[in-house]
């Protein structure tokens, strides 16, 4: 179960919507891991809350027969990302590992990428981020604290990827499948979120992504996301991938 050595990794995620219970553990884990400022009431009301991963609730079916569904949505790390060509300063670009990279230093804050993103998973720092005194020592030293005026979004916990790759290299071995885990996938109690390398045919995510329930969000935009969803299984109804995809 090793990473294919010839090709570099292609990081991606498989989200099993059927397993998601909407507990929001991933949201909190991400918030803590990535130094995301607190989403206070006024920020949420002003539509300026930052949460790199969010659990969307949506209703399926008409009123008496409707059911609440949950779907976690984060940056889809699209291979054909609409946010990338519009950035005038290359602050967002695609790297060779399938990651959609946000370079905080280059960002000038035009917010053009945010308009381009159909998933609306990009966030702008309208204010300088502040933490209460009691939380200041909780900041993760591996993650940049973003200043005001720049964009940010899910990085697939790139600092964890780097840390594990460094460790593997120093020990003179290749990265094992499952060694790199994002904060959200670690926190998920039902293993709905699975992170791994799509270029490794033996990895867990590679095996999961070809499940017959698989679909991608908003595939009409042909963004080729690196986040694959597995549709909800509904025992009451005949459900195929098509129905779940129609939500997106």
């Amino acid at each position: 179960m090793t990473t294919a050595s010839l090709k570099g990794p292609n990081w991606g995620m498989v989200v099993d919507v059927d397993k998601c219970i909407g507990c929001m553990a991933c949201v909190i884990a991400c918030q803590a891991e990535n130094n995301v400022p607190l989403n206070t009431q006024d920020r949420v009301e002003r539509g300026r809350a930052i949460s790199w991963i969010r659990v969307e609730r949506y209703w399926e079916g008409d009123f008496p027969d409707s059911k609440a569904r949950f779907i976690p949505i984060m940056c889809q790390h699209c291979a054909n990302a609409p946010c990338e060509p519009v950035c005038p300063v290359f602050a967002t670009y695609h790297n060779s590992e399938g990651l959609n990279i946000q370079v905080y230093n280059r960002c000038v804050g035009t917010r053009y990428c945010a308009n381009g993103c159909p998933y609306i998973v990009r966030f702008f720092n309208y204010w300088e981020p502040v933490w209460p005194e009691s939380l200041r020592n909780h900041l993760n030293p591996d993650v940049t604290v973003r200043s005001r005026g720049i964009m940010e979004k899910c990085t697939f916990c790139v600092h964890r990827i780097r840390r594990e790759s460094r460790k593997a290299r120093s020990e003179g071995r290749v990265l094992l499948d499952g060694e790199v885990q994002t904060a959200c996938s670690t926190a998920c109690p039902t293993s709905a979120l699975n992170f791994g390398n799509f270029n490794d045919p033996n990895s867990k995510v590679s095996k999961m992504k070809d499940d017959q329930r698989h679909y991608t969000l908003l595939d009409q935009f042909a963004t080729e996301p690196n986040v694959i969803y597995l549709a909800k299984v509904d025992t009451d109804r005949k459900v195929g991938a098509g129905e779940a995809a129609s939500h997106g």
Partner: protein, 459 residues
């Protein structure tokens, strides 16, 4: 207007230089008040840059709002210059003469104002230098030429350079005139600026050829500037109201509509403020209004074409967006005001010659057009972004904050302030163009009717 009397050159000189040689009484108080307002506006901008964009009403997903609307609006106004000076010059429309300079001036000042908006609307304006000029070439990091935001400053910069040169070339003979009529430091200023203009035949020839060449060079800009501005929106596939292939010509024709209307507004003001009734005559308003009827109707065609494309495509999100834009509160109210102001009120009125030659009516209808055209941009940008995406978690709307309104008002004060300041030092109506048209025009008798005619030398 046929019975206009020939104006002698002394009268023309005295009257058209009244802004410079004897300043009107209203000038100083007006400029002072505008100056104070401009300073307040700059103060508000400084506060915004200091505190951050949190002071605006922007949110997620409405990341762009009033500032980008106003940016597009001022770039639209700037198309006045290219239309009047370049196109009408090349097509030898005689009636353009008294308004060429004012139109070109409006172009320069509105472009300068337009450039401010993308700058202050960025999260870190002090880093924009990285974006407009290529940076960090040593490490191979170029600006992203696929982004329309790179081409915005390029197109606007070219337009600004061209317009400034054009303005200056046309100003040379008048600068020479002013140099000969002033003393002291003003004389020294005009001497330097006039570049040794003596008015000999060779200089006149060069000046004319220069003007025509610059007009021709500016024609491509006519197509490029607002096309590029429209691509800021058109290249975004995720936003239904933006992703449209007809945006480039649609924006260009809309820009001419608003730009030429702004020239009409300005002409009326010039006629009233400097009492230039002999130079800016009802026939000029008549000609501009006829032009506007054609431009406005073409623009309306594009507006409906865009809606037809939406209906024809039967794309559910697109239709939902159009429904929101036109039928849902408060967009429906704005949409009705927009349609009334930009077309339904002014254009039918302009069909009557009595309206076209009535300065006050032309003034107010042209202002209506620009209110409508500002709303048009707002109705493209904001409902597009606050569309109902499948993700209910991020649904949000937009209400511009007081800071944004202040900066919008500032932009109008700023352009007016610059125009008035310019009028103190340079004539707003080109003297030599005016005299040239006096030479070229004559009345000829056809039967018993006296008809104005243009005399042209054969090539």
């Amino acid at each position: 207007m046929q019975q206009r009397r020939p104006l002698d050159q002394v009268y023309t000189n005295r009257k058209l230089l009244n802004g410079q040689l004897d300043t009107p009484r209203w000038w100083l108080p007006t400029v002072s008040i505008l100056g104070v307002l401009v300073l307040i506006g700059i103060g508000v901008i400084a506060i915004m840059v200091n505190k951050g964009l949190g002071v605006t009403g922007l949110s997620r997903p409405v990341f762009w709002g009033l500032f980008i609307t106003t940016f597009v609006f001022w770039v639209g106004i700037s198309h006045a210059g290219i239309m009047i000076s370049a196109i009408l010059r090349l097509t030898q429309a005689e009636w353009r003469r008294p308004v060429t300079r004012a139109a070109e001036l409006l172009t320069v000042f509105s472009l300068l104002t337009a450039l401010v908006f993308p700058l202050i609307h960025a999260g870190r304006p002090w880093r924009i230098a990285y974006w407009i000029t290529p940076y960090d070439l040593g490490r191979g990091i170029y600006p992203n030429i696929r982004s329309p935001l790179i081409w915005d400053p390029v197109a606007i910069g070219t337009y600004l350079t061209g317009s400034t040169l054009f303005l200056y070339v046309a100003l040379l003979p008048d600068l020479g005139n002013l140099r000969d009529r002033t003393t002291g430091w003003r004389n020294s200023l005009y001497t330097v600026l006039a570049l040794g203009w003596r008015g000999n035949p060779r200089q006149w020839k060069l000046q004319t050829v220069g003007g025509i060449l610059l007009s021709a060079l500016m024609l491509p800009i006519f197509v490029s500037v607002h096309s590029i501005v429209s691509w800021d929106f058109a290249v975004v596939p995720a936003v239904e109201g933006w992703h449209s292939t007809i945006f480039a010509p649609y924006f260009v024709i809309g820009a001419i509509h608003s730009g030429v209307s702004a020239v009409v507004t300005m002409m009326a003001l010039m006629r009233w403020l400097w009492k230039w009734d002999d130079f800016i005559r009802p026939e000029h308003f008549d000609a501009l209004a006829r032009l506007l009827i054609v431009v406005a109707t073409a623009w309306l065609g594009f507006t409906f074409l865009e809606l037809i494309f939406a209906v024809y495509g039967q794309d559910a999100p697109e239709i939902a967006l159009r429904e929101m834009q036109m039928f849902q509160w408060p967009w429906n109210m704005l949409f009705i005001i927009f349609l009334l102001c930009a077309y339904l009120i002014p254009v039918p009125m302009w069909l009557f010659k009595r309206v076209r030659t009535n300065i006050a009516l032309m003034f107010w209808t042209s202002i209506l057009v620009n209110i409508g055209m500002w709303l048009e941009r707002f109705l493209i940008i904001v409902p597009g972004l606050s569309r109902r995406t499948p993700f209910v978690y991020v649904w949000d709307s937009y209400r511009p904050s007081a800071v944004e309104w202040t900066i919008l008002i500032w932009s109008f004060c700023w352009v007016t302030f610059l125009m008035l300041l310019f009028s103190k030092f340079f004539p707003l109506v080109p003297l030599f163009e005016q005299k040239e048209s006096q030479v070229f025009t004559d009345d000829v008798m056809i039967g018993r009717a006296r008809v104005p005619a243009i005399i042209r030398e054969a090539d």
